[in-house]
Subunit: 395 residues, 2 copies
């Protein structure tokens, strides 16, 4: 890093036209930046992964419980989806809010279109998807999630961007999957898949942008849709994966965006069970079950697929386990600290950042040595999102 | 993009301390930037893929025939490897040379370490790998490629970064593959694999960082090394893939870094044949051969793996063909213009940039409609490299 600082009047940015003090902005690349959600106080922190430091904080983002973020294609702006329907465009370079709207009463995440021009938000109340232009956050399209049989709009979950300028998502109450083509953004073309199963509670698009999976909460199984063959419709896989055994109470729903592929395998946190399921991506059959230290929340592969890191629901959320993929066994149990909520790998996998909500810090591990290499004080940190996500499909 | 320009004295950057004119630097993210090699005049152009424009040009990089580039983890700096042994650190934000050295007499490319701190260059003369610190380009390690039996140092090809802070490369003259562990950068630990086959002419590490493949020029086959099981050593695959047929004269060696995976398949430009080989990554057997319009140079998958784009050696280098992966057939033959040398996809695959050396321009295609959507005038363009490469393994 050059230590160059450039001084400019804050008014030049259009953020605070009457502000007198000048604003120091470092001339820097944005490839090693990220956002950490500080859920308790409506704040996000801008971090950088080269020196492993907190650059600044941005306040005023509303209710950030269960918040997530995506990034524009230049990796300068983060779009933060709050639980209260807030959608905030954060400028990571100037450390400010470029734009903020409250677009619904209750939201659960969002996605950015393949070309970077559209932001889609999945809403619980009113149920549906709203689409905004990424520059000014103007409303472009509104897609209420009214089921095939009519009635109340459904909560929408598992929203992901898909190739060819599409979004895909699941209707929790209605048991449907919708594929929306936004190549003509004002007139989305929606393909509906009905009766896919009861209560799809989350969904994921594989990193190759081809396979959409929705986990079912009301039934014991998973739905798969192959976007190379959407005409074939959804298929059920892993039917009855918990059958015949008493389910444990579910302390926290697993996150399917944590489902990750490692080579030809997919690692899936089982709902309500102390297990990670290993699925063969060629046959979509269960290959193995790995016993873990609690109910898994995220099962996230290191970018090279050599390890899968797992965190847990309470009361086991002070532990993190590392699965060795070649042997399909837990190799190491770590105790990073209280309430390990989220894990984010640096894009080439040498480090993983773990938020410890109840210790008010984020820790960084070297994934080769498994040693803690940094600790950053942050208020009740939860989600961690690095800008390299700007360049990936299906987030 | 905000149109903000920031004025700063050029001297602040340490580039031209006595220059009087100030330098306008736009405050911007670096995620949508790239470099295009203008091979005829030792110049690189800085481009951006959102508005599809040329931002500026940087001259003085020496002999850029067969040049390539990697990027630092912040995506601000590009490291350009010239044929004449030149290694130039280009600042994409200020559009200048941050540092330049000539580190050998003849070089063929390079890589950046997983943590971003080391730059490795593969040299023909003197044969070997030199490793530099990415900040100041100071020499960190020198690894002459002296074969197991002694003798002259070998030309080095197929250099790639591997997980756990390693580099892997092949010795063309010696028929060896070396795996160098740089966790202690001043004292590299090198594992040598001898007698892998005659004249490995290029190599590639799969995007997951696990499988290294080296193509053989002196024999009819490919060598595979599994980095999850390096103790097993290299194995031969695709033995005799051209056996029993008269080989065509080779007009241009294919580039193996163009070898790309699409799901469970790998697409390989055959040497001297009008064919793309399709290899099953589970069995490493040949699955299919696709007849194409000439001797393929690059066979590059769209990031979602749904298409593979192929360009050709002379005299067929005015064509580009698009393979449809589900049907394993050529779907479209395009005629973008004369001497289509290189193709680079935007990271989420909506566009592909193609350099047309003999038309002095780069064209951009929409990969969904296959329509040309932009044309940028550039002098004899060859390699195109986008900053999203900063976040990928094996480049």
């Amino acid at each position: 890093m050059h230590g160059v600082k450039m001084m400019l009047a804050a008014g030049w940015l259009g953020l605070a036209p009457f502000a007198l003090p000048s604003l120091a902005v470092e001339l820097r690349g944005t490839g090693d930046l990220g956002l950490v959600i500080e859920r308790a106080n409506g704040t996000v922190a801008v971090v950088e992964t080269t020196g492993r430091s907190v650059l600044c904080e941005v306040a005023g983002l509303g209710d950030l419980s269960h918040a997530s973020a995506v990034f524009d294609r230049s990796a300068r702006y983060g779009y933060v989806f709050g639980r209260d329907g807030g959608l905030t465009k954060v400028d990571l370079l100037t450390c400010g809010i470029a734009k903020r709207i409250v677009q619904s009463g209750n939201a659960i995440g969002g996605a950015i279109s393949q070309d970077g021009r559209l932001i889609a938000v999945s809403n619980y109340e009113p149920g549906g998807v709203k689409v905004f232009d990424s520059a000014g956050l103007g409303l472009v399209a509104d897609i209420p999630a009214v089921p095939a049989g009519g009635g109340a709009a459904s909560k929408v979950v598992g929203l992901a961007d898909a190739p060819d300028q599409r979004f895909i998502f699941s209707l929790y109450d209605a048991g449907e999957i919708w594929l929306a083509d936004l190549t003509a953004p004002q007139a989305p073309k929606v393909t509906r898949y009905e009766d896919v199963g009861q209560q799809p509670y989350d969904g994921l698009l594989a990193p190759d942008g081809r396979t959409y999976l929705a986990g079912l909460f009301g039934e014991d199984g998973v739905v798969r849709l192959d976007l190379w063959h959407p005409e074939k419709g959804p298929e059920r896989i892993l039917d009855g994966y918990g059958r015949g055994e008493a389910a444990l109470p579910v302390y926290k729903m697993p996150h399917l965006q944590g489902w990750t592929g490692a080579g030809d395998l997919l690692f899936l946190p089982a709902v309500g069970r102390h297990e990670v399921l290993v699925v063969d991506r060629a046959t979509w059959q269960e290959r193995a079950r790995i016993q873990v230290a609690g109910q898994p929340v995220f099962a996230t592969a290191r970018p090279d697929g050599r390890q899968v890191w797992v965190n847990f629901a309470p009361p086991d959320n002070a532990k993190v386990q590392v699965i060795d993929v070649p042997s399909l066994a837990v190799a190491t149990t770590l105790s990073p600290g209280k309430a390990a909520l989220h894990m984010e790998f640096t894009p080439r996998g040498e480090s993983v950042w773990i938020s410890l909500r109840d210790e008010n810090r984020v820790v960084v591990y070297d994934t080769r040595t498994l040693a803690e290499v940094a600790s950053l004080p942050l208020a009740a940190p939860s989600g961690i999102f690095f800008t390299a996500r700007a360049h990936r499909l299906g987030l």
